[in-house]
């Protein structure tokens, strides 16, 4: 997966407090996910990009899912993005089941004969261990997702069962990967996600983080509203409300973009934008353009 564009990061205003909290989360164990909250244009996506950059610098695996007005990400898309953004070799069990529920006439290649699929251990190289029996997928078996989105037409499986089974196949894979390398999942613009997907994120991802069922996994949820998770999540999460810029922040931003200090300009921009990051960026675009034209 590609990292954030250098052009975006170049103009990043110092959000060192927020970045420090992110770094603390990666280094510690108490806080396992952050919630970035702020209105449109307050810099959530840019801050997320900076956090992704920090992951890249650290060599930490990461995956990002960003909702938009025309892009409907479902729980399945979220799981697929996490798989594709990290190491898909750990997710054969999951991919096998995705194909089973979406491809006509597909037969499972990885059978978990007895017991609970959630107790499967995913090992290196695509091996799966369950009840001390190793099921070796083998190099001759290639399981590639066809990225179909509808349930297969030759079965009659209820959606809620599909959600359950795919999630139960996904979690051991994620757990195995996270035990080998820390992973951070970034979920951006959650105000555009639909109720069903939000519900899945809360019931599965957020509770797995709360209960520390996947050590090594961390997440950043971003959106215009609080997630409304309940008090049991207080100890393991931290909500960060992005504040508007102050004059000094705007001055720093001007220095980065224009290589000059102009306190009077920063004060004026602050008076016109109330420190709103997006409006500040537009103002500085305007200033730069005006200077070039003059």
């Amino acid at each position: 997966m590609h990292g954030p564009s250098p052009a975006i990061l170049r103009y990043f205003v110092d959000r060192s407090r927020e970045i420090q909290r992110f770094e603390d989360m990666l280094d510690g164990d108490d806080v396992r996910f952050l919630v970035l909250k702020g209105d449109g244009g307050t810099g959530k996506s840019l801050l997320t990009s900076k956090m992704i950059d920090a992951c890249i610098q650290r060599g930490t695996a990461w995956a990002q899912i960003e909702w938009s007005d025309s892009q409907p990400y479902t729980y399945l898309d979220v799981m697929r993005e996490i798989r594709d953004g990290t190491d898909e070799t750990y997710f054969d069990l999951f991919t096998d089941r995705v194909k089973y529920f979406t491809e006509r006439a597909y037969e499972l290649k990885i059978q978990v004969e007895s017991g609970d699929i959630e107790n499967v251990r995913v090992l290196d190289g695509g091996k799966i261990e369950h009840s001390n029996v190793t099921v070796h997928v083998g190099h001759t078996v290639e399981i590639k997702d066809s990225y179909l989105n509808s349930l297969r037409p030759d079965r009659d499986i209820e959606e809620n069962e599909v959600v359950l089974e795919l999630t139960r196949a996904f979690m051991p894979c994620l757990r195995a990967l996270a035990s080998r390398t820390p992973i951070v999942i970034f979920l951006d613009a959650l105000e555009k996600a639909d109720e069903t997907t939000l519900d899945w994120l809360k019931r599965n991802l957020a509770t797995a983080l709360r209960d520390n069922r996947i050590p090594g996994l961390r997440a950043v949820f971003s959106g215009r509203e609080s997630l409304d998770l309940g008090s049991s999540f207080f100890d393991c999460s931290l909500e960060i409300a992005l504040k508007p810029f102050g004059v000094e922040d705007i001055l720093d931003y001007l220095k980065v973009r224009t290589e000059s200090e102009n306190h009077e300009l920063a004060t004026f921009i602050f008076s016109q934008t109330d420190g709103h990051p997006l409006d500040t960026a537009k103002s500085v675009d305007h200033w730069i353009r005006m200077l070039r034209q003059q």
Partner: protein, 522 residues
């Protein structure tokens, strides 16, 4: 960069003046955005406005739309400069399909565009429709089709809404609720470009999304509000249908009945046989619930007539099923069998193989009710086979529970327990504590019938605990548990049995002696 030039002009003063101009003359009402736009070249300013029409853009789209700018800039150095100017804007961000404007900026620009030049926006939408149709033909990506239909709604309302309905219903039939949610919101974005007549469609689709997300109460409110407004067929029929279904979801049968009856009255004069057939069928189902069997039969038959006219085989199958259930409740098993058999045939004709499991279940319950238990078992097994083939494990859990009940009636207690155990393990997998509790209660019944009172008590206690976990009342289960415990206390112990046997034997011996004494003349 310096704030003054060699001529001593104060750029900051110029900058401040530009804000004053933006405040008084700006097109969008967002001062920072307007000041920026007013500082751009006319072609760049115009292009930014045009780029607010699609949700995303790439170089091909930029090139396409630059040919529509005023003045047109579509080639050479001027075009490259224009393109560079766009990409340098801080509110242009990466998108999966290229780039997108920040949604707050896009919303402002679109609103301004709609207010000042709606016809031009429609013209741009027309170009985008053609472009996206060509791209979709190349790539076959569904999101291109969604975007195309989104723009079609803006430039050709009637055709756009027709195609939108097709795209939405296709996603809905595939149970892609998230896609439906996105499509509904995309349509809502176009509300200012739609006529008054078209506005209710926006809330209708939102209501469907809520309904499919099981937010039935909120969905019901949406449909109520729509029904109270001036809505014409064919939309009105659909609204009434979902208004009624929302009431049914809350088991408000009288309300559902009233909605369907009123809707039928209003729509009888229209030619929308398909919707009328569904309304009659739902009315029949509600009457069945209320045990108004004559009315149910009349409604189902009327729906049948309409479905025969439209050739809707699935509708016919549902009608026949309803009639079969009515006949079952009227203790007319032969007629019930005929109707349910006809339903089975219609399901096959409709290609709804897996839905036949429901008919088999109805037939099983019919046969069970007339004590033809072997036939009942055959139908349950046929339903189970279909569920296994279809992979519907939740449906299978329910069927195993039904089969267990049958085995209990047949006094095949081991088989009953096996069926209930299968049911229990499936419900457990789904975390369905309510049905787990019911199944555990049924297991208790089997144990009691097998004279295993301790086991019966243990199962009933577990069932009660499960209901308590769910915050549900367990009164009836508790009463049964109390009875079982009394039974356990009064159950004869071995010593009591021996004493009782001894007493009976003693009494018998005494009787024989007395009889002998009385009957002996000597």
């Amino acid at each position: 960069m310096s704030a003054t030039d060699g001529n001593g002009r104060d750029y900051l003063q110029l900058f401040k003046q530009s804000y004053e101009r933006a405040r008084s003359e700006g097109p969008t009402g967002d001062v920072s955005l307007d000041a920026l736009l007013m500082s751009m070249t006319p072609a760049a300013r115009d292009l930014v406005l045009l780029l607010s029409v699609p949700h995303w853009f790439n170089d091909r789209l930029v090139s396409l739309l630059s040919r529509a700018t005023e003045p047109t800039v579509d080639e050479g150095e001027a075009y490259e400069a224009l393109r560079g100017e766009i990409h340098s804007l801080s509110f242009v961000r990466p998108h999966g399909r290229g780039f997108a404007l920040h949604d707050a900026v896009r919303a402002r620009l679109r609103a301004s565009f709609i207010a000042r030049a709606p016809q031009r926006l429609r013209d741009i939408s027309t170009r985008l429709v053609d472009y996206l149709a060509a791209r979709h033909a190349e790539e076959q990506r569904e999101e291109l089709e969604w975007e195309r239909v989104y723009h079609l709604v803006a430039c050709d309302e009637e055709q756009g809404l027709t195609e939108f309905d097709g795209v939405f219903m296709t996603a809905r039939q595939a149970r892609r609720t998230t896609v439906c949610h996105t499509l509904a919101e995309m349509l809502a974005e176009q509300s200012e470009l739609l006529s008054e007549r078209a506005q209710p469609w926006i809330d209708y689709y939102r209501g469907l999304v809520l309904y499919d997300q099981h937010q039935r109460r909120t969905a019901g409110s949406v449909f109520e509000a729509l029904a109270a407004g001036q809505v014409e067929p064919p939309l009105s029929g659909r609204i009434y249908l979902y208004q009624g279904l929302s009431a049914e979801a809350h088991e408000d049968w009288p309300r559902a009945e009233s909605i369907y009856a009123s809707a039928i009255d209003q729509l009888n004069a229209t030619d929308d046989k398909a919707v009328l057939a569904r309304l009659h069928q739902r009315l029949a189902e509600v009457h069945i619930r209320e045990n108004h069997l004559k009315k149910a039969e009349a409604a189902a038959k009327r729906s049948l007539e309409l479905n025969e006219q439209t050739g809707d085989q699935f509708g016919l199958a549902l009608n026949r099923r309803a009639l079969g259930r009515i006949r079952t409740m009227l203790y007319d098993p032969n007629a019930a069998r005929r109707e349910l058999g006809a339903s089975m045939v219609a399901m096959d004709a409709a290609g709804r193989r897996f839905a036949k499991a429901t008919i088999h279940t109805d037939l099983a319950k019919l046969e069970q009710s007339v004590q033809r238990l072997e036939q009942a078992e055959e139908h349950f097994n046929a339903a189970i086979d279909l569920k296994v083939e279809g992979g519907d494990n939740f449906g299978l859990a329910i069927l195993y529970a039904d089969l267990g009940q049958l085995k209990l009636i047949q006094r095949r207690f081991d088989e009953a327990q096996r069926a209930f155990d299968r049911s229990l393990s499936l419900f457990r997998r789904f975390g369905d504590r309510l049905n787990e509790a019911r199944t555990m209660h049924n297991k208790s019944l089997v144990h009691e019938q097998s004279r295993e009172v301790e086991e019966a008590i243990a199962c009933e206690e577990k069932a009660i605990a499960m209901l308590a976990d769910e915050g549900r009342s367990a009164d009836s289960f508790q009463k049964r548990l109390d009875r079982l415990r009394r039974k356990q206390r009064w159950r004869p112990r071995p010593l009591r049995i021996a004493l009782l046997a001894g007493l009976i034997l003693g009494l018998l011996v005494l009787y024989v002696i007395l009889y002998a004494i009385v009957s002996d003349p000597y």
